[in-house]
């Protein structure tokens, strides 16, 4: 049988431009298989799931805060620190239920889905995804936990909220600052108490060079031991540093509750100053310190941010 010349022609070159249409068709089939049929019942169930999840989030957040502020101190952090895990659990269960409602999660579909999600997150929600992942990692690495007193960038305060995207810290001025988790990739996190109730408080005092250092050290130790806020089970240390304008003494001690750090510091200073006055211990000369400040020379090393209010 004779073969027509056109029958021997290679059509592949001709069809190449239309192959992407076939691909689209194939993707459509996958898409149809990936998504289950929509129905009103499913939509209502999904809405109910989201409502329950939202309600649970709110209830757990409220209950955790309410309970933790009413129980004894040593249970406060224990209760607060469980909050992110409860939230994560609710989130996982909610997503699992929604996927179960709307998706057919076969092996191939899962592959396609993750690819799509990866592309979407990579372009549209890059920072959000980064924060979520950082938040999950932070749950296990624990650079900060609920109830910790942390310093990130210029912000210092107690971690009072742990969300999907970031944390909320309450500053000493009673402002709530939200910091995304992904800051932990690049910024240093200074944690004062790392899950404990106590956090060290450093209180600085300044004296003239000829002040009786032994007497000052003795008074500072006694100031710490006598303060009602002091956790006596933890070490109390006084360290000295010599500056050209005078002598700097730093009292390092721990209050029983890190929340009391500023009132504790005030109590220490007040007690110590009463005793300094009694013994007439000389402070550095004001004129000398004014000269130093006028010359623009730093009076001392800048106090660490945790020291300041």
């Amino acid at each position: 049988m004779a073969i027509a010349p056109w029958q021997t022609l290679d059509f592949s070159a001709f069809l190449d431009p239309f192959l992407f249409l076939a691909q689209i068709d194939s993707d459509k089939n996958v898409s149809e298989r990936l998504l289950t049929d929509l129905s009103l019942r499913k939509l209502l169930r999904a809405a109910l799931t989201i409502a329950i999840a939202y309600g649970s989030f709110f209830a757990i957040q409220t209950a955790t805060t309410w309970i933790s502020e009413r129980v004894a101190r040593r249970f406060r952090l224990m209760i607060k620190q469980a909050l992110p895990f409860w939230k994560a659990l609710i989130l996982v269960l909610t997503l699992a239920d929604l996927f179960n409602i709307f998706l057919n999660l076969s092996e191939a579909n899962l592959l396609a889905l993750t690819g799509t999600i990866a592309v979407a997150l990579g372009f549209a929600f890059k920072d959000y995804a980064s924060s979520v992942i950082a938040g999950i990692i932070a749950l296990f690495e624990a650079p900060y936990r609920m109830g910790d007193r942390i310093q990130m960038e210029d912000h210092y305060g107690e971690v009072v909220g742990y969300g999907l995207r970031g944390i909320q810290i309450q500053t000493p001025d009673d402002n709530v600052v939200t910091i995304p988790h992904n800051k932990t990739w690049t910024e240093a996190v200074s944690n004062a108490n790392t899950g404990n109730l106590e956090a060290q408080v450093a209180t600085t005092f300044y004296f003239a060079h000829d002040a009786d250092a032994d007497k000052i050290i003795s008074i500072l130790y006694q100031a710490a031991y006598s303060s009602k806020y002091t956790q006596l089970k933890l070490p109390i240390v006084v360290v000295m540093d010599e500056q050209f304008w005078g002598t700097q003494f730093k009292l390092r001690s721990y209050p029983m509750d890190a929340r009391d750090e500023f009132i504790y510091k005030t109590d220490l200073i007040r007690r110590a100053k009463q005793a300094f006055r009694r013994y007439e211990l000389p402070y550095p000369l004001a004129s000398r310190m004014a000269d130093v400040e006028q010359d623009g020379v730093p009076m001392t090393d800048a106090p660490p941010p945790l020291d300041g209010m």
Binding site: R73, F75, S226, K228, D267
Partner: protein, 402 residues
């Protein structure tokens, strides 16, 4: 933290079991608590009783052994510290114990007989110096070098016991407030020819150990024994027998061991707590207190054999309900437990506050019954001690080891 938690769990479980074992009176609901007047009269009767004999014999036995060792061995410790609960009258117990020690092999001197803190706590060291001054045995000019090798003949000179029945009254938690303790500590270590007997509460001792390491100087420390139900009954019997309905004492369970066991368990074996719980477990017929114009008088058979006896009833002993506390209350109560009895001015000074600032707190705590006021001094009501200790431990305060 875990130890504190386990302690509170143990207390709770023990209280469940002791509640289960307690005898429940069928007439409990028909009776009413004692009026304050009656309760005070009974409390006075109990205060007149000597300390429990088991405390006294314990003190004498331990002292006899320690003094004998000290008199025979040059390097033996020259001190013995008796610790008790902060609500226990340790000074009275020590005084009772030594008063009954008829064949004491030594001369006992008491330069600081449960003194009150001076108005200015900073002069407490001077007060202690003045108190020790009349005693030539404690002359600062004749003190020994603590590291010096003693002459064996000096054992014969070991005839003096210095009794300090209430160490917590010798300090205040403020700058310079425990210089007196440091002075005493140094005198004791430099006068090894004197034996030092010290009474103190666990809480004060723990505090002083933190701030001036007293345990390093006074190594021999004994805690008062816990009282069991039988001992408690024996101690309180002179009062109990005169007021409790006769039928309760002649029931088939006779001495009601379950009641006394339950009482001892709830009181953690501490006499003052047991007394308060016992008083609170007493009930009276409501008809006897119904007449508002005339409160019943405690007319004990022993006082007036011909008078009409007032019969009371015991119900299941239980700890009083514990009021909720705020942070300020906890600091105040913690300070009181460290210092024992103290005036309002001293309490304010130790807290670093003015008297006016704590006045409202004190009034509120007095009203809830957590505090009591005697002779111008404040102290913690003993029946609340058990729960207060748990409360403070749970709030990260250091507590005594009692």
């Amino acid at each position: 933290m875990i130890q504190g938690f386990m302690w509170s769990v143990r207390q709770t479980v023990q209280s469940w079991f002791s509640q289960a074992q307690a005898t429940v009176s069928e007439t409990e609901e028909e009776l009413v608590p004692l009026p304050d007047v009656l309760e005070n009269q009974l409390a006075q009767k109990i205060r007149a009783l000597p300390s429990p004999e088991i405390y006294q014999s314990f003190i004498r036995e331990e002292l006899a052994i320690a003094i004998e060792t000290w008199q025979q061995n040059l390097d033996a410790p020259n001190s013995l510290v008796f610790l008790g609960s902060p609500v226990e009258p340790i000074a009275a117990i020590l005084n009772d114990g030594l008063r009954q020690w008829s064949d004491a092999p030594v001369n006992i001197i008491t330069p600081l007989p449960c003194m009150a803190r001076p108005e200015d706590p900073l002069v407490s060291i001077q007060q202690i110096r003045d108190a020790l001054d009349p005693y030539t045995q404690l002359d600062p000019d004749n003190q020994e070098d603590a590291d010096e090798q003693l002459d064996p003949d000096s054992l014969d000179a070991r005839q003096t016991v210095v009794l300090i029945p209430c160490l917590e009254q010798c300090f205040l938690r403020c700058i310079g407030g425990w210089e007196g303790i440091e002075y005493l500590r140094d005198v004791a270590i430099h006068h090894r020819h004197c034996f030092w007997v010290i009474g103190c509460s666990h809480w004060a001792w723990n505090f002083l150990d933190f701030v001036c390491q007293v345990s390093a100087y006074f190594s021999e420390v004994k805690s008062l024994p816990e009282l069991n139900g039988e001992v408690l009954k024996e101690w309180l019997d002179p009062v109990v027998k005169t007021v409790i309905a006769a039928q309760a004492q002649t029931e088939e369970d006779g001495d009601r061991p379950d009641y006394w066991h339950s009482l001892a368990s709830k009181a953690l074996g501490v006499s003052s707590i047991a007394v308060n719980i016992w008083l609170q477990s007493l009930r009276i017929d409501p008809e006897l207190v119904a007449d508002g114009d005339k409160s019943p008088d405690l007319n004990l058979a022993s006082d007036n054999p011909e008078g009409e006896e007032l019969i009371l009833h015991e119900v299941k002993p239980s700890l009083p309900s514990f009021p909720s506390l705020n942070h300020g209350d906890r600091y105040l109560l913690h300070s009181l437990l460290i210092h024992g009895r103290m005036t309002r001015a001293h309490l304010a000074f130790s807290l670093g506050q003015r008297e006016g600032q704590i006045q409202s707190q004190i009034q509120a705590l007095l009203r809830t019954g957590l505090l009591e006021r005697n002779d111008g001094c404040l102290s913690v009501q003993p029946s609340h001690y058990v729960r207060l200790k748990t409360e403070l431990a749970n709030n990260n305060f250091f507590v005594g080891d009692d």
